[in-house]
Symmetry: C2
Subunit: 190 residues, 2 copies
């Protein structure tokens, strides 16, 4: 998506060969106009596929996921990164690993909010090694639902998560795929 | 707001005299249609006031805050609940306390994303004792900006945070103010 790639080139900050900071428009300050256009573009890419529900993970996946759900008039659920309390009536959980924070974490979704037979679109702001998305897929399948696809803002292609999912037969659509951040230059996949 | 109050009566779950669970539509599963109507209603209540920026806090304030920013075509910033890493160029921080998790936490906003002289609307899903909102106000004032008001989905009136803010001269608009959860009955403020 041209507008997102332009924004990344203008406002993205390369921290190192693996890390791109986009917190001025995507995951701390939110460019509401750009994110709504991104949601519309992702909806176009999944047009014709049945989608009953959007699943994302807190926090920075929420804006894009919410807009997709808003335009499609379907519910959005965000997985929580905290272990559910004993008050809770039952959760699907899966383990993931944050390379940013260098620590494992559990993500959880209430059993009340994914139902057997549903077609679920996974949405997130970043896709790198694919750990978080794989955990969301595990949760969807545990619920007897189906991951209809994965809608991503920025994929770090060089970390391989997106291509692994594609090889496994999961449709993955990313609005910008970064092939390299080496030498301080952002290179997108053609 | 009638539609929200109805939804609370239909879907809210009273956990105890102080705790109302609304995770089926407001802070785990998201009712995208209701939340967009809530954003429109809050915009009406702050009509005529200058608003340059929306400030909320991760995670569950994000959907409502995002929709308000989307309709007003202004940026949204969400405060982070993690201490900023050393990579970061500079943050405004304030201490708050979570009664849900019974622990203090630090919220932080990058200095790049609030500017002196701006009028900032604070948005959150819940207002109880007012700790989180007070910390956001502290951050806004530290930045030399002004808190133009506080827009809330559900205020727990019996915990007093909203009324303290009103007495301090901060405009607070809540779409549903709960006066009591005693005896398993939800009572709204008239």
């Amino acid at each position: 998506m041209e507008a997102l790639q332009q924004k990344i080139l203008e406002k993205g900050i390369i921290i190192d060969d693996h890390t791109l900071k986009v917190d001025s428009f995507l995951n701390h300050q939110l460019d509401t106009s750009l994110i709504s256009s991104m949601a519309e573009e992702l909806i176009r890419r999944f047009a014709g596929m049945p989608i009953h529900r959007v699943l994302t993970i807190e926090s920075s996946g929420i804006p894009l996921a919410f807009m997709i759900g808003y335009f499609l008039r379907i519910p959005v659920v965000f997985a929580k990164k905290t272990k559910p309390s004993t008050l809770s009536s039952g959760f699907y959980s899966a383990e993931s690993y944050s390379f940013t924070r260098k620590s494992p974490y559990t993500m959880s979704v209430s059993r009340d909010f994914i139902h057997p037979g549903e077609e679920v679109l996974i949405v997130d702001d970043f896709l790198a090694g694919g750990n978080a998305v794989s955990a969301l897929i595990e949760i969807i399948r545990d619920a007897g639902a189906r991951p209809v696809g994965v809608a991503i803002a920025v994929e770090k292609g060089f970390q391989g998560g997106g291509d692994s999912l594609r090889k496994a037969g999961i449709p993955v659509e990313s609005l910008a795929i970064i092939e390299s951040l080496s030498n301080g230059v952002i290179q997108f996949r053609k």
